[in-house]
Each structure stands twice: as structure tokens, then as C-alpha cells.
């Protein structure tokens, strides 16, 4: 090896963990011992490195200092902190182990000094660019492994002494455990944060706005680990609402990833209109194919907000809670199938349930009722009592109320998910303010149809009024606005046996264009007894009436 070494390079004979063979001046030594300051180990990695470099620069009276840490995946040294040669970090310098000045220090696990940079094998151009003439570097060794390199430089030619090397090595030895600790912590922290971010991304970011229902949900990550809890709310065909909650056994990124697969699969089955029991059977079959024998508990229910009828299926999941508008709470006991992934050919029987207007159903994961010292029945009773104690059934405050009562610290060993859906009463008068977008028309028909049926309108009346109101709303959306966000209002009332509907927009009127709109007006006039179009400067209004035929 010695023969291949370029001129101008010298090895300092010093073991990686060696102590200075020469007594360093007392103040220098004291300064070095300052590097073991316990306060340093509490610093985050970057600040620890910066602090170390400042102290070393002061102790050895050098112009530059730098720390490169080993990236074990690429076997490269990566500049992580520098003083006097900040470019090294800014440019993200990476030096392969075994090459150049720092690379050789790491490969040979010994200190190297370069009295004259100009005549040496220095890979990193920045060292020359900033005018460094002499270099000294030592390996950072932790439990026999090289974890990085610490080097110092001088802009004036300098022959680093064995004592300098010993002090730097001592500094390195002092620093290495703290660096390793901080790095490990940093990496764990980063892993935790990215796992939490992954899990968040797998949960719905926005719950759907569904006619005649209110929904809310909360997710609390576990204190130390990532969990596999999830919830979902789905808008299904015919205005039905799917509500799901689940908990993949275990923790960590793997549980979160399995959760993501299950959530997506359940959505797919649900949107294909599979009833809850069948959806869970399919989900179970899918989970059996996922490597690693994953298990999960799930509850999935489908609510018809118009009738309040609900069907729910359960795979080993704790019972939901129904909170009534009058302030009572009861556990929703269902047929409970096995957890998903637990048994071959598992079957999931459905249980019917009912929500009256104003009633809410809360589903949750077991993190909510996790108190180690109480048996399950007692914990469920605590939950039921907390639900009965809620001031009302509005989903947002109900979620918060349950968490306040059962996880007051908001810090749990296990992650916690809660989802609440409330069936709204159908009002006497229907009043909707809607974005002027074609997508809202389906929603309008859903709400209008429910409202009309609740007011006693027959099939023929419902159909006729739906056609007319659809045309009036389409007109407001299509013609009354310049591009950009806008809204329109729909109001429907029943007076004795006559339905009155007003559709108001807030834009300037434009004459209906082409046959298309002309047909719309014709449809309104043919299906309603009276149609009155009023055009104003601040918008237009279509007022329509139809006497119910029964």
C-alpha cells in the first residue's frame, strides 16, 4: 500500500481509538473533553455536528473542518457538516470509500495527514478551490465500524503533528457515539415521520358531502409506532352511504401498507354494490392472498339516509355505538364474523339496524377503548356512557367528545380511528345553495326526490317535478355565469297540495341558446302547472308550481 501512496501523504501512526502519545497542552485537552458534554447528545444531528466542528476549529486553530458520514447503502462518504468549506455540504459531495483523501481514511481506518495538497491525491476539488494547503483527517469509528471521517484543513502550509492527530482522533472518538446516536435517532424519526405520512395519505383527506347525512372522522396516530387503522365513508349508488372502519393487526409500515390495500379493495367492492357481508367475504379472500398472513378486523355498513335502514357486517370488530337524537346511547350488537384473514371460508352475516332522523352511528377502533386494567365489557360500557353523555349527535363534536372522554391525553399506545355518520331529518322546506357545476345535478335530484316523497308526492309527481327542476338548475349552471366559481339557490316548499320551486342564480341573464335550452324550457312548461322566468340585473329566477295529483 505504501508504494501506491502519492507523494505528500503521510500516515500518522495512531490507532483509531488511541490516546495522544504526547501530552496535549492542558487547555487543549480540557477543550477536547468538552466534546463529551452530555448536552451534545441531546442535540439533533445537524446541530450536534455544527457544534462539534466549531469546537474542533477552535481547539486545533484550523481554517476548515468537515464531517463526512458513511452512507452504508452506497459505501460513500457524504459531507454532512462543514466549517470554512460549507460548499462541501451545499454541493452534496460524495466520496467513495477507498478513493481520495477522506475515502482512504475510511478504507484504511487510520489518520492521514497531507502536508501539501497540491501534490496529493485529493479527489474533492472544493478542497483546492478554497485554498486549503494542508489537511489532517481521522476516521470516526463506532464499535469497530467506520461511520465517517472528520477532517481539518489549513490555508497556510502546516505540518500537523502527532499531537494534533491525537487530539483530532480523541475528538472523533468522543463524537462518534453521539453522532451515531443522533443519526440513529434521526433515521428512526425520519422513518416514523414518513410512515405516519404514508398512513395519512392512505386515509381519506376529505369526507364526501352526502345528501341528508353528516359525517366526521378522527385519526390519532399511536405514540411511538405507526398503526394499521383506517376509516372510510363512501357515496354509493342511489344515494346510499357506505361507512367502514378497520384495524390491521400489528404496527409499522407493513401494517399501514396492508391497510391501504384493504381500504382500496373495500372501496372497489362497495362501489360495485356488493352488500356488506359479501364485501367482507371478498375482502377476506383478498387478504388470504397477501403475503405474511395479515389479519384485520373490519366493520362495514350501508345506510339509506332516506329510510334510515342500515345493513352492517362485522369481521371481529368491536360493536359500534348508536347515539339517538334524544340522548340515549346503545351498543350496536351485530353478528360477529371472524377477523379477516383468520379462517378459511369465513362468512359474514349481515345485521339490520335503523337510524331515526338525528341519530348517529359511531364506529371506532379498539385504541379508543384501550385501558389495560379493565375487562372489555367495562370498557364498552365506558364508551356507551360517554356517548350518552354527548351534548348532541352532530358528528364533529361527537368525535371530539368521545376522544375527550376516552383518550383525554390524545396520546395512545395504539392508534385510534373514529368515524361518525348522522342521518339528518328531512326539513319542511328544502333550501340548498349549490356550486354552479354540472356534477351537483345528481345531488339535487337525490335531495329533491327524498323531500318530495316525504311530503307525500307520488311517483308521477316526483318524476315530473324532477324533470322541471333539473332543467331549471341546468339552466342556472349553463347560462347564467361567466367561467369561475359561482353558486345558485334552490328552494322548494309545499303549500296545501301545491309544490313551489324557486331556482335563483346570481349572474346576468343570457338568452337561451339553440334548440337544446329551448327543449329545457319546453320540458319545464310541460311538467309544471306554472313556470315564470324573471330576469334581473343581479341574476335570474325561475319560479314553478305544480299541484300534486296524488
Amino acid at each position: 500500500m505504501a508504494g501506491t501512496r502519492p507523494p505528500g501523504t503521510g500516515h500518522v501512526l495512531l490507532g483509531a481509538a488511541g490516546l495522544p502519545s504526547l501530552a496535549a497542552p492542558g487547555d487543549q485537552l480540557r477543550a477536547v473533553y468538552r466534546l463529551s458534554d452530555p448536552a451534545l447528545s441531546e442535540l439533533p444531528l445537524q446541530r450536534l455536528l455544527d457544534e462539534l466542528l466549531d469546537r474542533i476549529r477552535e481547539i486545533l486553530d484550523v481554517d476548515t473542518t468537515a464531517i463526512l458520514l458513511l452512507d452504508p447503502e452506497t459505501n460513500e462518504l457524504v459531507a454532512r457538516a462543514a466549517r470554512g468549506i460549507e460548499e462541501e455540504v451545499e454541493r452534496g459531495v460524495r466520496i467513495p470509500v477507498g478513493r481520495g483523501f477522506a475515502g482512504r481514511i475510511a478504507a484504511e481506518r487510520s489518520a492521514i495527514t497531507i502536508p501539501d495538497v497540491d501534490h496529493a491525491d485529493v479527489l474533492n476539488p472544493i478542497l483546492r478551490e478554497v485554498g486549503i494547503r494542508s489537511l489532517l483527517g481521522v476516521p470516526l469509528v463506532m464499535e469497530g465500524r467506520v461511520v465517517g471521517v472528520l477532517h481539518v484543513g489549513s490555508r497556510v502550509p502546516r505540518i500537523f503533528s502527532t499531537a494534533d492527530a491525537a487530539i483530532l482522533q480523541l475528538a472523533g472518538n468522543r463524537a462518534a457515539p453521539a453522532i451515531e446516536h443522533a443519526r440513529l435517532f434521526d433515521a428512526l424519526d425520519r422513518e416514523h415521520r414518513s410512515a405516519v405520512a404514508l398512513q395519512r395519505s392512505l386515509l381519506p383527506d376529505l369526507l364526501p358531502d352526502i345528501a341528508e347525512t353528516d359525517v366526521a372522522a378522527r385519526y390519532l396516530p399511536a405514540r411511538d409506532e405507526v398503526g394499521g387503522d383506517w376509516y372510510d365513508v363512501l357515496e354509493l349508488s342511489g344515494g346510499r352511504v357506505g361507512i367502514a372502519i378497520g384495524d390491521v393487526a400489528g404496527h409499522g409500515v407493513r401494517a399501514a401498507a396492508t391497510m391501504g390495500q384493504l381500504r382500496t379493495a373495500l372501496r372497489a367492492y362497495a362501489l360495485e354494490d356488493h352488500p356488506p357481508g359479501e364485501a367482507l367475504r371478498l375482502l377476506d379472500a383478498l387478504l388470504q392472498t397477501i403475503r405474511g398472513r395479515a389479519m384485520a378486523t373490519v366493520a362495514y355498513g350501508v345506510l339509506n339516509p332516506e329510510t334510515g335502514d342500515m345493513t352492517i357486517a362485522c369481521a371481529g370488530h368491536p360493536p359500534g355505538v348508536i347515539v339517538t337524537a334524544s340522548g340515549e346511547a346503545r351498543l350496536l350488537e351485530t353478528h360477529r364474523g371472524p377477523p379477516l384473514g383468520a379462517l378459511p371460508f369465513a362468512q359474514f352475516r349481515e345485521t339490520p339496524a335503523r337510524l331515526e332522523p338525528g341519530d348517529a352511528l359511531a364506529l371506532y377502533t379498539d385504541g379508543l377503548i384501550e385501558t389495560r386494567d379493565a375487562p372489555l365489557t367495562e370498557r364498552l360500557e365506558m364508551l356507551r356512557a360517554a356517548a350518552a353523555d354527548a351534548p348532541d349527535t352532530a358528528p364533529d363534536p361527537l368525535c371530539d367528545h368521545l376522544l375527550d372522554a376516552l383518550v383525554p391525553s390524545r396520546a395512545s399506545e395504539d392508534d385510534v380511528a373514529v368515524v361518525v355518520v348522522r342521518r339528518l331529518a328531512i326539513p319542511n322546506a328544502l333550501r340548498l345553495r349549490l356550486p354552479a357545476e354540472p356534477d351537483v345535478l345528481g345531488r339535487v335530484r337525490l335531495s329533491l326526490g327524498r323531500w318530495l316523497r316525504a311530503r307525500g308526492a307520488g311517483t308521477e309527481d316526483v318524476h315530473a317535478i324532477m324533470i322541471a327542476v333539473g332543467e331549471a338548475c341546468a339552466n342556472a349552471i349553463e347560462h347564467a355565469y361567466p367561467p369561475g366559481p359561482a353558486s345558485f339557490d334552490l328552494e322548494a316548499t309545499l303549500d296545501d297540495t301545491t309544490i313551489s320551486v324557486h331556482v335563483r342564480d346570481h349572474g346576468g341573464w343570457r338568452e337561451p341558446r339553440g334548440q337544446h335550452r329551448g327543449r329545457g324550457l319546453a320540458l319545464m312548461e310541460a311538467t309544471m302547472d306554472e313556470v315564470d322566468v324573471r330576469r334581473g340585473d343581479n341574476g335570474s329566477e325561475i319560479a314553478m308550481r305544480r299541484r300534486l295529483r296524488g
Binding site: L236, E471, A474, H516, A522, L523
Partner: protein, 115 residues
């Protein structure tokens, strides 16, 4: 997040393309449905049969699409046939806008195929 308003299934039946639509048709999806259906036709096609049996609602945008389809097909010497059972909820809007006078209506797909 929105539940799909309508589903479309296209299949070939002899020289006809049969389009089965289920759900609701309005200005949010009528154009796309029309384009998708006519896009399936080839030079060898005899025409398009649109099965509206499972459609629960259609508005003037859907009717506009039906008229457009008829024009586009007629110009290529293709036929357009609609399947609308006598008790279909969509029949009211179709009648009120004169569709039965412009496009041939049949009770079943089989009847439409037979012409």
C-alpha cells in the same frame, strides 16, 4: 367521491353495437356517453342500439345527445334505435321532446335488433 351517475356497457351484436346504459343522464355525462357510443361504431356497423331500460332519469342534455347521435349516424347511413319499455320513467321526457317521432323506439333489445 361522487357515486357514478351512469354505467355504460358496449357490446357487439351482429352488425349492431348495443349500448346498455344504467343510471341517470344529465348535462354532466351526456356528451361523454354520446361520444363513447359513437366512437365504437366502425364502417362495418349497421348501427347503434341504445338500451335505456335501466335509465331512471334523463334531461334535455341527454335528449340533445340523442338528436346529435341521430344526425351523426344518419350522415354515415347508419341507424339509431332506442330501447325504451312502455313503463320506463324516461318515456315522459322523450315524448315531451318529440324523440319518438325522430328515432325508432323498441320495447326490447331483441325487437330493436330485428328492426
Amino acid at each position: 367521491m361522487n357515486a357514478q351517475l351512469a354505467r355504460l356497457q358496449l357490446r357487439d351484436s351482429g352488425a349492431f353495437v348495443v349500448a346498455e346504459i344504467a343510471g341517470e343522464i344529465d348535462m354532466s355525462n351526456a356528451d361523454d356517453l354520446g361520444r363513447t357510443m359513437s366512437g365504437r361504431l366502425t364502417n362495418d356497423s349497421a348501427g347503434l342500439i341504445v338500451d335505456l331500460s335501466a335509465v331512471t332519469y334523463l334531461d334535455s342534455a341527454a335528449i340533445h345527445t340523442i338528436y346529435e347521435l341521430r344526425e351523426r349516424l344518419t350522415s354515415r347511413a347508419l341507424v339509431l334505435r332506442l330501447v325504451v319499455p312502455p313503463d320506463a320513467p324516461t318515456l315522459l321526457a322523450l315524448r315531451l321532446t318529440g324523440v319518438p317521432d325522430a328515432v325508432a323506439l323498441f320495447d326490447t333489445v331483441a325487437a330493436a335488433e330485428a328492426g
